[in-house]
Protein backbone atom coordinates (compact mmCIF):
# COMPACT_ATOMS: atom_id res chain seq x y z
CA UNK A 1 0.00 0.00 0.00
CA UNK A 2 1.50 3.30 -1.01
CA UNK A 3 1.83 6.24 1.33
CA UNK A 4 -0.98 8.18 -0.23
CA UNK A 5 -3.44 5.33 0.01
CA UNK A 6 -2.72 4.72 3.66
CA UNK A 7 -3.04 8.42 4.44
CA UNK A 8 -6.48 8.43 2.87
CA UNK A 9 -7.78 6.16 5.58
CA UNK A 10 -5.91 7.91 8.38
CA UNK A 11 -7.39 11.32 7.57
CA UNK A 12 -10.88 9.96 7.02
CA UNK A 13 -11.55 10.06 10.76
CA UNK A 14 -10.70 13.71 11.48
CA UNK A 15 -12.46 14.74 8.29
CA UNK A 16 -15.63 13.02 9.37
CA UNK A 17 -15.29 14.68 12.78
CA UNK A 18 -14.94 18.06 11.07
CA UNK A 19 -18.03 17.38 8.99
CA UNK A 20 -19.90 16.74 12.23
CA UNK A 21 -18.52 19.96 13.70
CA UNK A 22 -19.78 21.78 10.62
CA UNK A 23 -23.31 20.49 10.94
CA UNK A 24 -23.66 20.30 14.71
CA UNK A 25 -24.10 24.02 15.48
CA UNK A 26 -27.21 24.23 13.35
CA UNK A 27 -28.55 20.93 14.67
CA UNK A 28 -28.03 22.19 18.22
CA UNK A 29 -29.82 25.45 17.41
CA UNK A 30 -32.74 23.62 15.80
CA UNK A 31 -33.01 21.36 18.81
CA UNK A 32 -32.99 24.32 21.20
CA UNK A 33 -35.68 26.04 19.14
CA UNK A 34 -37.89 23.01 19.61
CA UNK A 35 -37.56 23.00 23.40
CA UNK A 36 -39.79 24.74 25.87
CA UNK A 37 -38.08 27.25 28.12
CA UNK A 38 -38.33 24.85 31.01
CA UNK A 39 -36.82 21.99 29.03
CA UNK A 40 -33.95 24.24 28.02
CA UNK A 41 -33.17 25.34 31.55
CA UNK A 42 -33.25 21.75 32.82
CA UNK A 43 -31.13 20.25 30.06
CA UNK A 44 -30.09 22.10 26.94
CA UNK A 45 -28.34 19.16 25.32
CA UNK A 46 -30.92 16.40 25.35
CA UNK A 47 -33.13 15.89 22.35
CA UNK A 48 -36.30 17.97 22.50
CA UNK A 49 -39.24 15.98 23.87
CA UNK A 50 -41.35 16.70 20.85
CA UNK A 51 -41.40 18.92 17.78
CA UNK A 52 -42.70 22.00 19.47
CA UNK A 53 -43.35 24.86 17.03
CA UNK A 54 -44.56 27.36 19.63
CA UNK A 55 -41.25 29.24 19.76
CA UNK A 56 -41.10 29.52 15.98
CA UNK A 57 -44.66 30.85 15.90
CA UNK A 58 -43.85 33.27 18.72
CA UNK A 59 -40.71 34.54 16.99
CA UNK A 60 -42.60 34.91 13.71
CA UNK A 61 -45.61 36.72 15.09
CA UNK A 62 -45.12 38.53 18.39
CA UNK A 63 -41.39 39.23 18.12
CA UNK A 64 -41.76 40.85 14.71
CA UNK A 65 -39.62 38.52 12.64
CA UNK A 66 -42.34 38.40 9.97
CA UNK A 67 -42.04 42.15 9.42
CA UNK A 68 -38.23 41.97 9.23
CA UNK A 69 -38.51 38.98 6.91
CA UNK A 70 -40.77 40.88 4.53
CA UNK A 71 -38.46 43.91 4.61
CA UNK A 72 -35.53 41.70 3.65
CA UNK A 73 -37.40 39.93 0.87
CA UNK A 74 -38.45 43.21 -0.74
CA UNK A 75 -35.05 44.85 -0.50
CA UNK A 76 -33.16 41.77 -1.69
CA UNK A 77 -35.49 41.13 -4.65
CA UNK A 78 -35.28 44.68 -5.96
CA UNK A 79 -31.53 44.93 -5.36
CA UNK A 80 -30.80 41.68 -7.18
CA UNK A 81 -33.03 42.61 -10.14
CA UNK A 82 -31.24 45.95 -10.53
CA UNK A 83 -27.81 44.35 -10.10
CA UNK A 84 -28.52 41.84 -12.85
CA UNK A 85 -29.94 44.47 -15.21
CA UNK A 86 -27.17 47.05 -14.79
CA UNK A 87 -24.50 44.37 -14.50
CA UNK A 88 -25.45 42.55 -17.69
CA UNK A 89 -25.75 45.81 -19.64
CA UNK A 90 -22.30 46.87 -18.55
CA UNK A 91 -20.83 43.39 -18.92
CA UNK A 92 -22.10 43.07 -22.48
CA UNK A 93 -20.78 46.50 -23.42
CA UNK A 94 -17.37 45.86 -21.89
CA UNK A 95 -16.94 42.37 -23.30
CA UNK A 96 -18.48 42.63 -26.74
CA UNK A 97 -18.58 46.27 -27.88
CA UNK A 98 -15.48 47.99 -29.06
CA UNK A 99 -15.09 51.58 -27.97
CA UNK A 100 -12.32 53.81 -26.83
CA UNK A 101 -11.41 53.49 -23.17
CA UNK A 102 -13.13 50.17 -22.58
CA UNK A 103 -10.13 48.55 -20.90
CA UNK A 104 -9.58 51.61 -18.75
CA UNK A 105 -13.22 51.49 -17.67
CA UNK A 106 -12.95 47.81 -16.87
CA UNK A 107 -9.91 48.51 -14.73
CA UNK A 108 -11.72 51.34 -12.98
CA UNK A 109 -14.58 49.02 -12.11
CA UNK A 110 -12.12 46.39 -10.87
CA UNK A 111 -10.55 49.06 -8.68
CA UNK A 112 -13.96 49.78 -7.15
CA UNK A 113 -14.02 46.12 -6.09
CA UNK A 114 -11.33 46.96 -3.60
CA UNK A 115 -13.13 49.83 -1.94
CA UNK A 116 -14.76 48.00 0.94
CA UNK A 117 -17.94 49.37 2.43
CA UNK A 118 -16.19 50.13 5.72
CA UNK A 119 -13.97 52.61 3.93
CA UNK A 120 -16.79 54.63 2.38
CA UNK A 121 -19.55 54.21 4.95
CA UNK A 122 -19.13 57.56 6.66
CA UNK A 123 -19.33 59.73 3.52
CA UNK A 124 -21.99 57.42 2.05
CA UNK A 125 -24.16 57.96 5.12
CA UNK A 126 -23.77 61.70 4.66
CA UNK A 127 -24.66 61.52 0.95
CA UNK A 128 -27.73 59.45 1.77
CA UNK A 129 -28.78 61.87 4.50
CA UNK A 130 -28.26 64.89 2.23
CA UNK A 131 -30.38 63.34 -0.52
CA UNK A 132 -33.15 62.25 1.84
CA UNK A 133 -32.47 58.58 1.14
CA UNK A 134 -31.38 57.71 4.66
CA UNK A 135 -33.73 55.24 6.36
CA UNK A 136 -35.65 54.54 3.13
CA UNK A 137 -35.91 51.37 1.08
CA UNK A 138 -34.63 53.02 -2.11
CA UNK A 139 -31.60 54.20 -0.14
CA UNK A 140 -30.78 50.72 1.12
CA UNK A 141 -31.33 49.22 -2.34
CA UNK A 142 -28.99 51.81 -3.85
CA UNK A 143 -26.38 51.06 -1.21
CA UNK A 144 -26.57 47.34 -1.99
CA UNK A 145 -26.42 47.89 -5.73
CA UNK A 146 -23.41 50.17 -5.33
CA UNK A 147 -21.74 47.65 -3.07
CA UNK A 148 -22.13 44.55 -5.24
CA UNK A 149 -22.20 46.01 -8.76
CA UNK A 150 -18.43 45.93 -9.42
CA UNK A 151 -18.31 42.22 -8.57
CA UNK A 152 -21.40 41.57 -10.72
CA UNK A 153 -19.92 43.42 -13.68
CA UNK A 154 -16.62 41.62 -13.31
CA UNK A 155 -18.29 38.23 -13.37
CA UNK A 156 -20.67 38.99 -16.23
CA UNK A 157 -17.93 40.61 -18.33
CA UNK A 158 -15.83 37.48 -17.92
CA UNK A 159 -18.81 35.37 -18.93
CA UNK A 160 -19.74 37.46 -21.98
CA UNK A 161 -16.11 37.44 -23.10
CA UNK A 162 -16.52 33.69 -23.64
CA UNK A 163 -19.53 34.14 -25.96
CA UNK A 164 -18.25 33.69 -29.54
CA UNK A 165 -18.29 37.04 -31.40
CA UNK A 166 -19.84 35.25 -34.40
CA UNK A 167 -23.11 35.02 -32.51
CA UNK A 168 -23.19 38.79 -32.12
CA UNK A 169 -22.20 39.25 -35.78
CA UNK A 170 -24.94 36.95 -36.98
CA UNK A 171 -27.54 38.75 -34.91
CA UNK A 172 -26.36 42.09 -36.29
CA UNK A 173 -26.57 40.83 -39.87
CA UNK A 174 -30.09 39.67 -39.12
CA UNK A 175 -30.89 43.30 -38.48
CA UNK A 176 -30.72 43.64 -34.72
CA UNK A 177 -29.59 46.90 -33.16
CA UNK A 178 -27.03 46.78 -30.39
CA UNK A 179 -29.91 46.95 -27.91
CA UNK A 180 -31.69 44.14 -29.73
CA UNK A 181 -28.56 42.01 -29.48
CA UNK A 182 -28.40 42.72 -25.77
CA UNK A 183 -32.06 42.00 -25.12
CA UNK A 184 -32.71 39.10 -27.47
CA UNK A 185 -29.32 37.35 -27.55
CA UNK A 186 -27.09 38.31 -24.63
CA UNK A 187 -29.65 38.17 -21.84
CA UNK A 188 -30.86 34.63 -22.71
CA UNK A 189 -27.33 33.40 -23.41
CA UNK A 190 -26.18 34.82 -20.11
CA UNK A 191 -28.82 32.94 -18.11
CA UNK A 192 -26.41 30.53 -16.36
CA UNK A 193 -24.11 33.37 -15.30
CA UNK A 194 -27.06 35.56 -14.32
CA UNK A 195 -28.44 32.77 -12.14
CA UNK A 196 -25.09 32.22 -10.48
CA UNK A 197 -24.33 35.87 -9.82
CA UNK A 198 -27.96 36.50 -8.90
CA UNK A 199 -27.98 33.83 -6.22
CA UNK A 200 -24.68 35.05 -4.86
CA UNK A 201 -25.90 38.65 -4.71
CA UNK A 202 -29.11 37.54 -3.05
CA UNK A 203 -27.03 35.81 -0.36
CA UNK A 204 -24.78 38.85 0.09
CA UNK A 205 -27.75 41.19 0.50
CA UNK A 206 -29.75 38.79 2.66
CA UNK A 207 -26.77 38.14 4.95
CA UNK A 208 -25.61 41.73 5.25
CA UNK A 209 -25.79 43.45 8.59
CA UNK A 210 -23.41 46.41 8.48
CA UNK A 211 -24.96 48.23 5.50
CA UNK A 212 -28.51 47.86 6.71
CA UNK A 213 -27.54 48.77 10.26
CA UNK A 214 -26.09 52.00 8.94
CA UNK A 215 -28.78 52.80 6.38
CA UNK A 216 -31.92 51.79 8.30
CA UNK A 217 -31.81 53.18 11.83
CA UNK A 218 -35.53 52.95 12.60
CA UNK A 219 -36.92 49.75 14.06
CA UNK A 220 -39.78 49.19 11.61
CA UNK A 221 -37.34 49.29 8.67
CA UNK A 222 -35.05 46.63 10.10
CA UNK A 223 -33.92 43.86 7.81
CA UNK A 224 -33.94 40.30 9.05
CA UNK A 225 -30.29 40.13 10.10
CA UNK A 226 -30.53 43.36 12.09
CA UNK A 227 -33.70 41.91 13.57
CA UNK A 228 -31.76 38.86 14.73
CA UNK A 229 -29.14 41.02 16.44
CA UNK A 230 -31.87 42.91 18.26
CA UNK A 231 -33.38 39.62 19.47
CA UNK A 232 -30.23 38.86 21.39
CA UNK A 233 -30.68 41.62 23.89
CA UNK A 234 -34.46 41.23 24.15
CA UNK A 235 -34.59 37.49 24.63
CA UNK A 236 -31.41 36.73 26.56
CA UNK A 237 -33.51 34.85 29.12
CA UNK A 238 -35.61 33.04 26.52
CA UNK A 239 -33.03 31.20 24.46
CA UNK A 240 -35.50 28.90 22.64
CA UNK A 241 -37.27 31.94 21.15
CA UNK A 242 -33.92 33.47 20.27
CA UNK A 243 -32.86 30.23 18.58
CA UNK A 244 -36.15 30.19 16.68
CA UNK A 245 -35.48 33.68 15.33
CA UNK A 246 -32.02 32.56 14.21
CA UNK A 247 -33.55 29.54 12.52
CA UNK A 248 -36.13 31.62 10.65
CA UNK A 249 -33.32 33.75 9.26
CA UNK A 250 -31.21 30.73 8.30
CA UNK A 251 -33.79 28.48 6.67
CA UNK A 252 -34.24 30.41 3.39
CA UNK A 253 -30.47 30.32 2.94
CA UNK A 254 -30.40 26.58 3.61
CA UNK A 255 -33.10 25.96 1.03
CA UNK A 256 -31.27 28.04 -1.58
CA UNK A 257 -28.07 26.18 -0.74
CA UNK A 258 -29.66 22.77 -1.17
CA UNK A 259 -30.87 23.59 -4.66
CA UNK A 260 -28.26 25.98 -6.00
CA UNK A 261 -25.02 24.87 -4.38
CA UNK A 262 -23.24 24.47 -7.72
CA UNK A 263 -24.22 27.94 -8.91
CA UNK A 264 -23.01 29.48 -5.66
CA UNK A 265 -19.70 27.63 -5.95
CA UNK A 266 -19.32 28.78 -9.58
CA UNK A 267 -19.69 32.39 -8.52
CA UNK A 268 -17.26 32.03 -5.63
CA UNK A 269 -14.57 30.41 -7.76
CA UNK A 270 -14.87 32.80 -10.71
CA UNK A 271 -11.53 34.38 -11.37
CA UNK A 272 -9.58 31.86 -9.36
CA UNK A 273 -8.34 29.38 -11.94
CA UNK A 274 -8.24 30.48 -15.54
CA UNK A 275 -5.08 32.26 -16.58
Amino acid sequence: MSGIRLTRWVVAVPMAALALATVYPLVFTTNVAMKTRREYVLDRFSLADSLNWDNIVKAWTSVGMSRYFLNSVIVVAISVALLLLFGSMAGFALARLRFRGSSALFLGILAALFVPFQVIMVPLARIMADTGLMDTYPGLVLAYVAQFLPFTIFLLTSYYATVPPEIVDAARIDGNTVYGVYWRIMLPIGAPALLSVGVLNALFCWNDVLISLLMMPSAEHRTLMVGVTSLRGQYSDDIPTFASGVLIAAVPVLVVYLFLQRQIADGVTAGSTKG
Binding site: V11, A12, M15, I127, T177, N207, V268, T269, S272
Partner: protein
Protein backbone atom coordinates in the same frame (compact mmCIF):
# COMPACT_ATOMS: atom_id res chain seq x y z
CA UNK B 1 -35.41 49.08 -32.66
CA UNK B 2 -38.38 48.71 -34.98
CA UNK B 3 -37.15 50.86 -37.86
CA UNK B 4 -33.68 49.40 -37.96
CA UNK B 5 -34.76 45.85 -37.67
CA UNK B 6 -36.25 46.00 -41.15
CA UNK B 7 -32.89 46.44 -42.80
CA UNK B 8 -29.46 45.08 -41.99
CA UNK B 9 -27.82 47.38 -39.50
CA UNK B 10 -24.55 48.82 -40.59
CA UNK B 11 -22.30 50.23 -37.94
CA UNK B 12 -20.57 53.50 -38.68
CA UNK B 13 -16.93 53.01 -39.71
CA UNK B 14 -15.64 54.16 -36.35
CA UNK B 15 -18.67 52.71 -34.67
CA UNK B 16 -18.67 50.87 -31.43
CA UNK B 17 -20.56 47.79 -32.49
CA UNK B 18 -17.86 45.33 -31.64
CA UNK B 19 -17.40 42.31 -33.82
CA UNK B 20 -20.15 43.27 -36.25
CA UNK B 21 -18.99 43.39 -39.81
CA UNK B 22 -20.54 45.78 -42.31
CA UNK B 23 -23.40 43.97 -43.96
CA UNK B 24 -23.52 45.91 -47.17
CA UNK B 25 -24.35 49.57 -47.62
CA UNK B 26 -27.56 50.95 -46.30
CA UNK B 27 -28.80 54.51 -46.48
CA UNK B 28 -31.49 54.21 -43.92
CA UNK B 29 -29.30 53.82 -40.92
CA UNK B 30 -27.77 57.20 -40.41
CA UNK B 31 -29.98 57.99 -37.44
CA UNK B 32 -29.72 54.43 -36.17
CA UNK B 33 -25.97 54.43 -36.30
CA UNK B 34 -25.73 57.48 -34.10
CA UNK B 35 -27.91 55.82 -31.51
CA UNK B 36 -25.72 52.79 -31.92
CA UNK B 37 -22.51 54.72 -31.50
CA UNK B 38 -23.82 55.88 -28.17
CA UNK B 39 -24.84 52.35 -27.23
CA UNK B 40 -21.81 51.55 -25.04
CA UNK B 41 -22.37 54.77 -23.15
CA UNK B 42 -26.08 54.08 -22.72
CA UNK B 43 -25.46 50.52 -21.56
CA UNK B 44 -22.75 51.56 -19.14
CA UNK B 45 -24.41 54.72 -17.84
CA UNK B 46 -26.36 53.30 -14.87
CA UNK B 47 -23.40 51.25 -13.67
CA UNK B 48 -20.97 54.13 -14.02
CA UNK B 49 -23.25 56.63 -12.31
CA UNK B 50 -23.73 54.31 -9.34
CA UNK B 51 -20.12 53.21 -9.03
CA UNK B 52 -18.67 56.67 -9.42
CA UNK B 53 -21.33 58.40 -7.32
CA UNK B 54 -21.62 55.91 -4.50
CA UNK B 55 -18.24 54.16 -4.38
CA UNK B 56 -15.47 56.31 -5.80
CA UNK B 57 -16.76 59.78 -4.93
CA UNK B 58 -17.39 58.80 -1.28
CA UNK B 59 -13.81 57.55 -1.15
CA UNK B 60 -12.58 61.02 -2.09
CA UNK B 61 -15.03 62.66 0.30
CA UNK B 62 -13.93 60.35 3.09
CA UNK B 63 -10.24 61.12 2.71
CA UNK B 64 -11.21 64.79 2.76
CA UNK B 65 -13.38 64.34 5.89
CA UNK B 66 -10.50 62.74 7.68
CA UNK B 67 -8.67 66.07 7.66
CA UNK B 68 -11.61 68.01 9.11
CA UNK B 69 -12.83 68.29 12.68
CA UNK B 70 -15.69 66.70 14.60
CA UNK B 71 -18.39 68.33 16.69
CA UNK B 72 -17.93 72.09 17.03
CA UNK B 73 -15.17 72.07 14.48
CA UNK B 74 -17.28 70.35 11.85
CA UNK B 75 -15.93 71.20 8.40
CA UNK B 76 -12.80 72.97 9.65
CA UNK B 77 -9.50 71.69 8.34
CA UNK B 78 -7.45 70.26 11.18
CA UNK B 79 -4.57 68.65 9.30
CA UNK B 80 -3.42 65.34 10.67
CA UNK B 81 -5.05 65.82 14.05
CA UNK B 82 -7.52 62.96 13.57
CA UNK B 83 -4.71 60.64 12.65
CA UNK B 84 -2.83 61.64 15.79
CA UNK B 85 -5.95 60.96 17.87
CA UNK B 86 -6.43 57.69 16.03
CA UNK B 87 -2.98 56.30 16.64
CA UNK B 88 -3.07 57.54 20.21
CA UNK B 89 -6.33 55.67 20.86
CA UNK B 90 -5.64 52.36 22.62
CA UNK B 91 -8.74 50.84 20.99
CA UNK B 92 -7.47 51.59 17.50
CA UNK B 93 -4.03 50.33 18.44
CA UNK B 94 -5.66 47.09 19.60
CA UNK B 95 -7.51 46.96 16.29
CA UNK B 96 -4.22 47.27 14.41
CA UNK B 97 -2.58 44.67 16.61
CA UNK B 98 -5.46 42.33 15.86
CA UNK B 99 -4.93 42.94 12.12
CA UNK B 100 -1.33 41.85 12.66
CA UNK B 101 -2.61 38.74 14.41
CA UNK B 102 -4.89 38.01 11.43
CA UNK B 103 -1.93 38.29 9.08
CA UNK B 104 -0.01 35.81 11.25
CA UNK B 105 -2.96 33.41 11.26
CA UNK B 106 -3.48 33.77 7.51
CA UNK B 107 -1.25 30.82 6.52
CA UNK B 108 -3.24 28.57 8.85
CA UNK B 109 -6.55 29.79 7.42
CA UNK B 110 -5.24 28.98 3.93
CA UNK B 111 -3.56 25.69 4.78
CA UNK B 112 -6.60 24.10 6.42
CA UNK B 113 -8.89 24.29 3.36
CA UNK B 114 -5.92 23.52 1.13
CA UNK B 115 -5.18 20.28 2.95
CA UNK B 116 -8.85 19.31 3.14
CA UNK B 117 -9.25 19.94 -0.60
CA UNK B 118 -6.20 17.78 -1.23
CA UNK B 119 -7.72 14.92 0.71
CA UNK B 120 -11.06 15.30 -1.02
CA UNK B 121 -9.26 15.31 -4.35
CA UNK B 122 -7.42 12.15 -3.34
CA UNK B 123 -10.80 10.52 -2.69
CA UNK B 124 -10.74 10.09 1.04
CA UNK B 125 -13.60 7.76 2.00
CA UNK B 126 -16.70 9.94 2.01
CA UNK B 127 -15.19 12.60 -0.24
CA UNK B 128 -18.40 13.02 -2.19
CA UNK B 129 -20.17 14.24 0.91
CA UNK B 130 -17.55 16.58 2.32
CA UNK B 131 -17.57 19.32 -0.27
CA UNK B 132 -21.26 20.02 0.24
CA UNK B 133 -21.05 19.79 4.03
CA UNK B 134 -17.92 21.92 4.47
CA UNK B 135 -19.10 24.62 2.11
CA UNK B 136 -22.44 25.12 3.78
CA UNK B 137 -21.51 27.44 6.71
CA UNK B 138 -19.97 29.79 4.16
CA UNK B 139 -23.41 30.81 2.93
CA UNK B 140 -24.69 31.68 6.40
CA UNK B 141 -24.68 35.28 7.56
CA UNK B 142 -22.04 36.19 10.16
CA UNK B 143 -25.01 37.25 12.27
CA UNK B 144 -26.47 33.74 12.21
CA UNK B 145 -23.07 32.17 12.80
CA UNK B 146 -22.30 34.57 15.62
CA UNK B 147 -25.68 34.05 17.25
CA UNK B 148 -25.27 30.27 17.12
CA UNK B 149 -21.76 30.40 18.54
CA UNK B 150 -22.93 32.66 21.32
CA UNK B 151 -24.86 29.64 22.50
CA UNK B 152 -22.12 27.11 21.75
CA UNK B 153 -19.34 29.08 23.41
CA UNK B 154 -21.32 30.03 26.50
CA UNK B 155 -19.46 29.25 29.73
CA UNK B 156 -21.90 26.43 30.41
CA UNK B 157 -22.33 25.64 26.72
CA UNK B 158 -21.70 22.56 24.58
CA UNK B 159 -18.03 23.21 23.79
CA UNK B 160 -17.02 23.50 27.43
CA UNK B 161 -19.09 20.44 28.18
CA UNK B 162 -17.26 18.49 25.49
CA UNK B 163 -13.88 19.70 26.74
CA UNK B 164 -14.93 18.91 30.31
CA UNK B 165 -15.54 15.34 29.20
CA UNK B 166 -11.92 15.26 28.04
CA UNK B 167 -10.75 16.70 31.33
CA UNK B 168 -10.00 20.17 29.97
CA UNK B 169 -11.34 22.90 31.82
CA UNK B 170 -13.97 25.30 31.21
CA UNK B 171 -12.65 28.20 29.15
CA UNK B 172 -14.38 31.58 29.18
CA UNK B 173 -14.25 31.82 25.39
CA UNK B 174 -15.85 35.22 24.94
CA UNK B 175 -15.20 36.68 28.37
CA UNK B 176 -11.43 36.33 28.67
CA UNK B 177 -9.61 39.20 26.91
CA UNK B 178 -6.68 37.00 25.94
CA UNK B 179 -8.91 34.28 24.49
CA UNK B 180 -11.83 36.13 22.90
CA UNK B 181 -10.09 37.32 19.72
CA UNK B 182 -8.93 33.77 19.01
CA UNK B 183 -12.44 32.49 19.60
CA UNK B 184 -13.88 35.02 17.14
CA UNK B 185 -11.21 34.33 14.51
CA UNK B 186 -11.75 30.62 15.03
CA UNK B 187 -15.46 31.02 14.38
CA UNK B 188 -14.69 33.11 11.30
CA UNK B 189 -12.43 30.36 9.98
CA UNK B 190 -15.10 27.74 10.78
CA UNK B 191 -17.62 29.79 8.82
CA UNK B 192 -15.48 30.53 5.78
CA UNK B 193 -13.03 27.68 5.21
CA UNK B 194 -15.58 26.07 2.88
CA UNK B 195 -15.30 29.08 0.58
CA UNK B 196 -11.55 28.58 0.16
CA UNK B 197 -12.06 24.82 -0.08
CA UNK B 198 -14.34 25.21 -3.09
CA UNK B 199 -11.81 27.50 -4.73
CA UNK B 200 -9.07 24.94 -4.13
CA UNK B 201 -11.22 22.17 -5.58
CA UNK B 202 -11.81 24.26 -8.70
CA UNK B 203 -8.02 24.55 -8.93
CA UNK B 204 -7.61 20.80 -8.56
CA UNK B 205 -10.05 20.28 -11.41
CA UNK B 206 -7.48 21.92 -13.70
CA UNK B 207 -4.65 19.75 -12.37
CA UNK B 208 -3.09 17.17 -14.65
CA UNK B 209 -4.05 13.95 -12.90
CA UNK B 210 -1.34 11.92 -14.65
CA UNK B 211 1.23 13.81 -12.55
CA UNK B 212 -0.44 12.53 -9.40
CA UNK B 213 -0.71 9.01 -10.78
CA UNK B 214 2.99 9.10 -11.56
CA UNK B 215 3.77 10.27 -8.03
CA UNK B 216 1.64 7.50 -6.61
CA UNK B 217 3.30 4.85 -8.79
CA UNK B 218 6.70 6.13 -7.69
CA UNK B 219 5.60 5.60 -4.10
CA UNK B 220 5.86 9.29 -3.17
CA UNK B 221 4.67 10.11 0.33
CA UNK B 222 1.83 12.56 0.78
CA UNK B 223 4.04 15.48 1.97
CA UNK B 224 6.33 14.86 -1.02
CA UNK B 225 3.38 14.83 -3.41
CA UNK B 226 1.99 18.05 -1.96
CA UNK B 227 5.34 19.78 -2.08
CA UNK B 228 6.52 18.70 -5.51
CA UNK B 229 3.34 18.18 -7.49
CA UNK B 230 0.37 19.98 -6.00
CA UNK B 231 1.78 23.27 -4.73
CA UNK B 232 3.72 24.09 -7.94
CA UNK B 233 0.64 23.34 -10.09
CA UNK B 234 -1.71 25.43 -8.00
CA UNK B 235 0.33 28.60 -7.44
CA UNK B 236 -2.36 30.80 -8.92
CA UNK B 237 -5.15 29.29 -6.86
CA UNK B 238 -3.08 29.56 -3.71
CA UNK B 239 -2.39 33.26 -4.38
CA UNK B 240 -6.07 33.86 -5.00
CA UNK B 241 -7.06 32.17 -1.75
CA UNK B 242 -4.45 34.11 0.23
CA UNK B 243 -5.76 37.44 -1.04
CA UNK B 244 -9.47 36.68 -0.74
CA UNK B 245 -9.04 35.19 2.73
CA UNK B 246 -7.17 38.29 3.88
CA UNK B 247 -9.82 40.59 2.46
CA UNK B 248 -12.50 38.47 4.13
CA UNK B 249 -10.75 38.78 7.48
CA UNK B 250 -10.45 42.55 7.15
CA UNK B 251 -13.95 43.29 5.90
CA UNK B 252 -16.42 40.60 6.82
CA UNK B 253 -16.00 40.03 10.53
CA UNK B 254 -18.17 42.94 11.58
CA UNK B 255 -21.27 40.75 11.97
CA UNK B 256 -19.41 38.34 14.24
CA UNK B 257 -17.95 41.10 16.40
CA UNK B 258 -21.27 42.89 16.61
CA UNK B 259 -23.12 39.78 17.75
CA UNK B 260 -20.46 37.90 19.73
CA UNK B 261 -18.33 40.41 21.62
CA UNK B 262 -19.26 44.01 20.66
CA UNK B 263 -15.52 44.62 20.63
CA UNK B 264 -15.02 43.41 24.19
CA UNK B 265 -14.04 42.14 26.66
CA UNK B 266 -12.00 45.24 27.50
CA UNK B 267 -11.83 46.22 23.83
CA UNK B 268 -9.69 43.18 23.05
CA UNK B 269 -11.58 42.11 19.92
CA UNK B 270 -11.62 45.44 18.08
CA UNK B 271 -10.88 45.40 14.37
CA UNK B 272 -10.64 48.52 12.20
CA UNK B 273 -14.10 47.96 10.73
CA UNK B 274 -15.64 47.75 14.18
CA UNK B 275 -13.80 50.87 15.29
CA UNK B 276 -15.14 52.77 12.27
CA UNK B 277 -18.68 51.65 13.05
CA UNK B 278 -18.46 52.70 16.70
CA UNK B 279 -17.02 56.12 15.89
CA UNK B 280 -19.58 56.79 13.17
CA UNK B 281 -22.69 54.99 14.35
CA UNK B 282 -22.43 55.28 18.13
CA UNK B 283 -20.11 58.14 19.02
CA UNK B 284 -20.97 60.44 16.13
CA UNK B 285 -17.38 61.27 15.26
CA UNK B 286 -17.46 60.99 11.47
CA UNK B 287 -14.14 62.74 10.91
CA UNK B 288 -12.28 60.40 13.23
CA UNK B 289 -14.13 57.45 11.67
CA UNK B 290 -13.01 58.69 8.25
CA UNK B 291 -9.41 58.72 9.38
CA UNK B 292 -9.80 55.11 10.50
CA UNK B 293 -11.45 54.32 7.14
CA UNK B 294 -8.54 55.83 5.29
CA UNK B 295 -6.11 53.76 7.35
CA UNK B 296 -8.12 50.62 6.57
CA UNK B 297 -8.15 51.56 2.92
CA UNK B 298 -4.37 51.80 2.85
CA UNK B 299 -4.16 48.32 4.34
CA UNK B 300 -6.64 47.05 1.75
CA UNK B 301 -4.81 48.78 -1.09
CA UNK B 302 -1.75 46.66 -0.56
CA UNK B 303 -3.88 43.51 -0.57
CA UNK B 304 -6.04 44.73 -3.45
CA UNK B 305 -3.21 45.65 -5.80
CA UNK B 306 -1.98 42.11 -5.51
CA UNK B 307 -5.39 40.79 -6.44
CA UNK B 308 -6.04 43.07 -9.41
CA UNK B 309 -3.08 41.47 -11.09
CA UNK B 310 -4.59 38.03 -10.54
CA UNK B 311 -8.14 38.90 -11.57
CA UNK B 312 -7.06 40.78 -14.67
CA UNK B 313 -5.37 37.74 -16.09
CA UNK B 314 -8.53 35.71 -15.66
CA UNK B 315 -11.12 38.09 -17.06
CA UNK B 316 -10.23 37.46 -20.68
CA UNK B 317 -9.58 41.15 -21.22
CA UNK B 318 -5.90 40.80 -22.02
CA UNK B 319 -6.42 39.87 -25.64
Amino acid sequence: MTAQSLSPARPAPAGPAGGARPAGPSRRNRAGSRAERLAPLVLLAPALLIIVGLRLWPLVLGVNFSFTGDGDRNGMMVGFENYATLFGDPLFRTALRNVGLLVLLLPVAVAIPGLLATFIYLRVPGHRLYRGVYFFPAVLSPVIVGAIFNLLLAFDGPLNKLLGGLGIGPVDWLGDPSVAIFAVVGVHVWATFGMALVVFLAGFATLDSSLLDAAEVDGASLPQTIRHVIVPSLTRTIQFVFVTTMIGMLTSMFGLLYVMTTGGPAGSTYLPEYYIWIQQGQLNQPALASAASTALFLIMLVVGLAQIGILRRSAGKED
